[in-house]
């Protein structure tokens, strides 16, 4: 609904200024914006979904009336009947339409509207069509009841309110042919639909300057029915928006009468008796509000006289006793259902800013945090300490981005497609962290950031038989910042921190590159991915050093970080030996470690401190420099003993793995 100061002014009795209206609308949370418009002022407000009553001038003024010394001026609804014609009305289902009213008006003169009427409907936001249509719109604006005028002579026999038959069609007043089905409620005559109920009329019964006799409709349609049809047809009108929010059934007849009265005044015409189908009897809705609950809820006392006066101005009838207010609420306020709704009205008009602040006094509850959030946050710190920048990707991608690399490595079967995506570019939920990170590296490279280290923590999603699942993952990637081994070290470090000590590593190589999978009981926990240049080329990153990884945090969510286990630091000076080895590339290093720890009990740690390939190293081998630390729980070790063990290790490595000492 469109409101201007001038248009409203006619319907307000009492003392007020434009500033008052603005302040009152603002206090009620309707976020008014006032704009000068010629010699008038346009008022734009945000009307909440539950406040259909504010979609009419009278409703809006009534809502403002408790704020000041004003009240609404109700328009005249008295109508003089000068014809006796009646028209039969049938409704098929009371649930769709429990009350339908109409009147015939004979011998009208349909012309352009007089200037005053044109001005009024234009100010109210409607396009002036002709005097009849303009009057229906004006009354809709005044009272909030959508009305429709039919050319009576284009209606066959009767009005029928029914569901459309599948395959039926109608051309609506906007000139569009609409396909109907049984979800759509229509107004029909004995032959055909003549309007889509509560949404828009049809051209086949349209009022034109040839029209002489009218049938004016005023009805209550089921809000859900109108909403569904409006969604289905993709057609939202002022009327449908109003019906969706449930109209005031008490106004069905008075709005019809108001409309007929104006038509009689403006277009001449003789008004015929009221025809109805169905029944409306005002049902009393009485809400009991405990006085002490108001205090308990708001945390402050509000004077009883204020409460009574406010609610009465809103159209409620109040009966107060010692403990309660019994509030009889007007039929049009379907947002008022429970005591808390009344309490909200009281608080609103009292002013939220006048309610004092008071910190809660409450016993200290053992408010358990889910560790998940805090653990993820601590994990972020580990990445940051290792020099990674956190990114957040939206996780929606296109068809290509849904494909994760290494089909034989992944256990994910089915990606999730959004059924109503914004566009094909955002239609799939990610099932891997890697494509997003690769895109980030590419974007940064294009921004001339040739070096970057990034990570992300978030969910990946996939479909399983029983439905949809999301799994927490961490992903990381480097562009020209460190090499495969430094990156792998970062990932292994994190895996250890989150409780994985001995994952089985498997290497996969295919056209998309190299992948190191980390497995626990055949379940992949993590992977490190070294993309092939052909993949990098797709991301404009060819010849760049790019490594990516992702870690499944499913276990981490349940178990958190590895326990910190303290063991006393040895009082003996450690004995260390550095040796440099030439290791054939076919040797899995995990096997080497396993063997040394199994066969040489005095070896405490084995740390790789340098990995080198290139000059003087055979092409199928890698130089690996390790520090071996020895300790003997039973006492000091003799230098001679250590030299012997080192020699034995070298001999065994040579025999088992063909690992040689680098000269």
């Amino acid at each position: 609904m469109r409101y201007t100061i001038k248009a409203l002014a006619e319907y307000i009795r009492g003392n007020w200024t434009e500033k008052d209206i603005e302040q009152w609308l603002s206090m009620l949370g309707l976020n008014p914006v006032f704009t000068e418009e010629g010699n008038d002022v346009l008022i734009e407000i945000e009307i909440p979904a539950n406040r259909g009553d504010l979609l009419s001038a009278i409703g809006l003024i009534r809502a403002l009336s408790p704020c000041g010394e004003i009240e609404p001026v109700y328009p005249d609804t008295g109508v003089k009947e000068e014809s006796s014609r009646v028209f039969p009305i049938e409704t098929y289902d009371v649930d769709d339409c429990f009350f339908y009213a109409g009147r015939i008006i004979e011998s009208v003169k349909v012309t352009d509207s007089p200037q005053w009427l044109q001005d009024k409907v234009t100010a109210a936001g409607f396009r002036s069509v002709n005097n009849v249509v303009d009057i229906t719109n004006l009354v809709f604006w005044e009272l909030g009841q959508p009305l429709h005028a039919f050319d009576l002579n284009l209606l066959k026999e009767k009005i029928v309110v029914r569901r459309a038959v599948n395959g039926e069609q109608i051309i609506t007043l906007d000139g569009i042919k609409r396909q109907l089905n049984s979800d759509v409620l229509v107004i029909a005559d004995s032959e055909k639909p003549v309007a889509i109920a509560g949404i828009m009329g049809g051209t086949n019964s349209e009022v034109t300057n040839k029209t002489t006799d009218l049938f004016i409709e005023s009805a209550f349609f089921n809000p859900v029915r109108i909403r569904r049809a409006s969604k289905l047809l993709g057609l939202v009108t002022d009327a449908s928006a109003r019906f969706e929010r449930k109209i005031d059934p008490a106004l069905v007849v008075s709005s019809l009468d108001r409309c007929c009265r104006l038509i009689n005044e403006v277009c001449k015409g003789k008004v015929a008796p009221l025809c109805v189908c169905g029944n409306y009897q005002a049902k009393e809705k009485v809400i009991t509000v405990q006085k002490k609950k108001i205090v308990c809820y708001l945390g402050c006392e509000i004077p009883e006289s204020f409460i009574v006066k406010t609610l009465e101005k809103l159209g409620c009838q109040i009966h107060a006793d010692f403990e309660d207010f019994n509030v009889n609420v007007p039929a049009g306020r379907n947002d008022l259902d429970m005591d808390v709704d009344i309490i909200e009205e009281i608080a609103k008009y009292w002013g939220y800013d006048r309610i004092p602040e008071q910190m809660p006094v409450s016993s200290i509850a053992y408010s358990v945090s889910s560790q998940e959030y805090l653990w993820f946050d601590a994990l972020r710190d580990i990445f940051v300490r290792s020099g990674f920048c956190e990114v957040i990707n939206i996780g929606l991608g296109d068809e290509n981005r849904k494909i994760s690399f290494f089909d034989d490595v992944k256990d994910v079967i089915d990606v999730i497609e959004i059924i109503n995506p914004l566009s094909r570019n955002y239609a799939f939920l990610r099932d891997s962290m890697i494509p997003g990170l690769l895109q980030n590296l590419k974007d940064n490279y294009n921004r001339k950031i040739e070096k970057s280290r990034i990570f992300e923590i978030g969910n990946i999603y996939h479909r399983i038989d029983a439905g949809f699942i999301e799994e927490p993952f961490a992903g990381a990637g480097i562009l020209n910042a460190g090499n495969f081994y430094t990156f792998k070290g970062n990932i292994e470090f994190i895996l250890e921190k989150i409780g994985y000590q001995d994952l089985v590593q498997k290497i996969f190589i295919d056209a998309s590159g190299v992948c190191v999978g980390f497995f626990k009981n055949e379940r992949r926990i993590a992977l490190i991915y070294l993309p092939d240049d052909s993949i990098l080329k797709q991301y404009d990153l060819e010849q760049q050093s790019v490594v990516l990884a992702e870690i499944n945090l499913g276990d981490f969510v349940k178990n958190g970080f590895s326990q910190i286990s303290y063991s006393p630091v040895s009082k003996l000076m450690p004995i260390k030996r550095d040796i440099s080895l030439i290791v054939p590339n076919s040797v899995p290093w995990q096997e080497v470690e396993k063997l040394i720890f199994r066969d040489f009990k005095l070896v405490e740690t084995l740390e790789v401190f340098d990995i080198y390939r290139g000059k003087n190293i055979p092409v199928d081998s890698t130089a690996v420099a390790v520090t071996i630390t020895f300790s003997n729980p039973e006492g000091a070790l003799a230098r001679q003993q250590v030299e012997e063990i080192v020699q034995n290790i070298i001999d065994v490595l040579k025999k088992v793995f063909a690992i040689t000492l680098r000269q």
């Binding site: 909403r227 308990c296 809820y297 909200e344 940051v384 990674f388 956190e390 990114v391 059924i419 910042a481």
Partner: protein, 345 residues
């Protein structure tokens, strides 16, 4: 040579040495001086060498005098050396350029949304709130129905939703409010929690909209929780987050899951409430939605006790972050642009 002569000649040597030392300007000169007096063929070496040729009765005295003189000069030498070292930078200015910048450590950074989440978690943990998360893939029940929005409720239009199945049973949560229900199903009253996470709305990207963003949700439920408690807690929160200068405004609003409902704004942090481009000349920035938990939400969450009341609130993390750091485009958060991200480290 008698004792007096010896004393005089030593003093003369000391005086000369001190005078020379005073004139020395650099380490090189100092070293020459040291060699002249203390070197293997230096003054003191030759003096000590001459002792055996002296009269027997004078020899001990001569040794003592020479040692005194040596001690005196050594001390002066050390002082001079310290002095020269202190002036050393000047001397070695051209050997090393100490004005060059240090090499910065390769540190990582947290995403600004994470930083702001932490700030919020810190504030609410201080008030005894627990921190929770909930699923991003939700059901219609938790996202709408349990929040007092049955099927075909017009308020559902307030949240344009991504659906995952044709029956529209599964969806991407449009807000973090479903966590309220999940928590109340799980934890007994009284409770106070916040929840942080990703949310999804079918909004096209523009400077202030993104189909994916983050929210923080809060919920406090107990026996005497009032609207005035809600006000106090949220004012405390906003002042902790944006500084005590900000003013906080509460206005009525509408959410199906709270009653009364409020929309909370802070005075614009850019213009201090005078009105500017950021606040659309209103002087206020809308920042939180809140209200008293609707009785229907308690019912759907299985809370049947009488006299239980509570408040809930929700806010967009990106919006808070944008206001806090003066970021003008929400899309920045998801570009992965290192130049953007590094500013928050």
């Amino acid at each position: 040579m008698d004792e007096k002569e010896l004393m005089l000649s030593i003093r003369k040597i000391v005086d000369e040495a001190m005078e020379q030392l005073g004139k020395i300007q650099d380490g090189e000169g100092l070293e020459k001086w040291r060699i002249q007096y203390f070197g293997r063929k230096g003054t003191f070496a030759s003096m000590t060498g001459r002792i055996p040729q002296m009269a027997v009765e004078i020899r001990p005295r001569a040794g003592a005098l020479i040692n005194d003189a040596k001690g005196q000069l050594t001390e002066a030498f050390e002082q001079k050396k310290t002095l020269l070292t202190q002036q050393g930078h000047k001397r070695t200015e051209h050997a090393v350029n100490f004005s060059l910048p240090g090499l910065r450590p390769e540190t990582g950074t947290l995403h600004p949304v994470t930083l702001v989440s932490r700030e919020i978690v810190r504030i609410f943990q201080g008030l005894g709130f627990g921190v929770h998360v909930g699923p991003e893939i939700e059901t219609d029940f938790y996202n709408f129905e349990a929040l007092n929005m049955p099927a075909d409720h017009p308020a559902r239009d307030m949240w344009d939703t991504f659906y995952l199945d044709p029956e529209r049973k599964f969806l991407l949560r449009t807000h973090t409010s479903p966590v309220q229900i999940r928590i109340m199903e799980k934890i007994s009253v009284p409770l106070r929690i916040i929840a942080i996470g990703k949310t999804f709305r079918r909004d096209d990207f523009d400077a202030s909209h993104s189909p994916v963003f983050h929210q923080v949700e809060g919920l406090m439920v107990g026996h005497d929780i009032t609207f005035s408690n809600l006000k106090a807690v949220l004012i405390f929160f906003l002042k902790e987050l944006f500084g005590t200068r900000v003013k906080v405004r509460f206005l009525p609003s509408y959410f199906p899951f709270t009653e009364p409902s409020a929309e909370i704004s802070i005075s614009c942090v850019i213009c201090d409430g005078r009105g500017c481009q950021t606040c659309g000349s209103t002087g206020w920035l809308e920042i939180l939605g809140a209200g008293m938990v609707h009785p229907e939400v308690f019912r759907k969450s299985g809370i049947r006790q009488k006299n239980i009341t509570g408040f809930a609130f929700g806010a967009g993390l990106e919006r808070i972050t944008m206001i806090k750091y003066g970021i003008d485009d929400i899309r920045q958060f998801y570009t992965g642009d290192i130049r953007f991200l590094k500013q928050f480290g």
